[in-house]
């Protein structure tokens, strides 16, 4: 049943400003009933967020556009599957993550990089293989480094498996706690931690290597 008293306001339609929980709930009820104006309001409100999330995972505009299209098509067609047990934004976040991961998995790998080459290595007695380990954080020119390092990290992120990439993105870019990442991706917290640690070691290894030091 569509509540009559709720009309889509200009503010909601433009996507500007905040949407109260109640307004959002009513809008979603109307989307479920096939109301296109309500759908447009939801689209306008969330499209930037969905795009940024998609872009972080797929890494380019064209694929991010495909993901956004697919996500909102699903929102319209599958709105009934949203039962309101979680926040709509959480449901949408998970939906976007799934669509983006599927997109990443379809991608052909052109070059497989061995993560192992960038992992720390240890001697038999458990100490670092190559010593001293250089603390490059002391002497990098932060200003120059940020831009350059961002590029290296971006490239390195693209070499991670889709799942590893999603874990790093959620943890280190979006500051999401591990239990929430675990729920979003359907893997255990232990698996989240293992993937996160390995991925960070790899990214660290790539940066270290870029600076001319041994990543191990």
């Amino acid at each position: 049943m569509i509540p009559r008293r709720h009309r889509v306001t200009k503010k909601e339609l433009s996507g500007k400003g905040q949407l109260s929980g109640e307004d959002e709930r009513l809008l979603i009820q109307r989307v479920k009933a096939g109301d296109q104006k309500a759908f447009e309001a939801i689209f306008n409100h969330y499209v930037s967020r969905v795009y940024r999330q998609a872009f972080k995972l797929v890494g380019n505009e064209a694929d991010a556009e495909d993901v956004v299209q697919e996500v909102f098509l699903l929102v319209y067609r599958k709105a009934k599957l949203f039962l309101g047990k979680s926040e709509f934004s959480t449901w949408l976040y998970r939906l976007t993550a799934n669509v983006a991961l599927t997109k990443l998995r379809q991608r052909k790998k052109d070059k497989v990089v061995s993560l192992d080459d960038y992992m720390p290595k240890f001697r038999r007695d458990g100490h670092h293989l190559i010593r001293p380990v250089v603390d490059w954080t002391q002497d990098i020119d932060k200003f120059v480094a940020v831009k350059e390092f961002n590029q290296i990290i971006q490239q390195a992120m693209d070499q991670l498996s889709p799942m590893d990439k999603a874990v790093v993105m959620m943890s280190d870019m979006e500051d999401m706690p591990n239990p929430e990442i675990s729920e979003t991706l359907g893997i255990t917290v232990q698996a989240v931690k293992a993937r996160l640690h390995r991925a960070r070691l790899f990214l660290r290894g790539r940066l270290t290597d870029h600076l001319g030091y041994s990543p191990t």
């Binding site: 689209f43 067609r77 458990g126 603390d135 961002n150 931690k193 660290r204």
Partner: protein, 90 residues
């Protein structure tokens, strides 16, 4: 026996090697080590400059990842998607 060894590796009360120390970094940074293990980890850092360097670069890497920034959705793209959706729903 195997089980015990695994538990030991996850949560050692002594941190004798850099390999052990490295495996604890993630939990150390999120404050998830129990107090004994945390102390053992920090004691290792006091005697091992290599692990201090490693920890610093690990933390710095996280900072760089956090600082990656992204553009907002191009307005042309937003229009295209809106058109696409209008044509494909209803």
């Amino acid at each position: 026996m195997v089980k015990k060894a695994q538990v030991m590796r996850v949560n050692p009360k002594k941190v004798d090697t850099c390999k052990q120390a490295t495996s604890l970094i993630l939990d150390y940074l999120t404050g998830e080590l129990d107090s004994k293990t945390k102390r053992a980890f920090e004691e290792h850092l006091m005697v091992c400059p290599d692990c201090v360097s490693f920890l610093n670069s690990y933390k710095e890497t996280i900072k760089f990842t956090l600082s990656l920034s992204y553009e907002d959705i191009p307005s042309e793209m937003k229009k295209r998607i809106r058109r696409f959706l209008r044509d494909n729903i209803g």
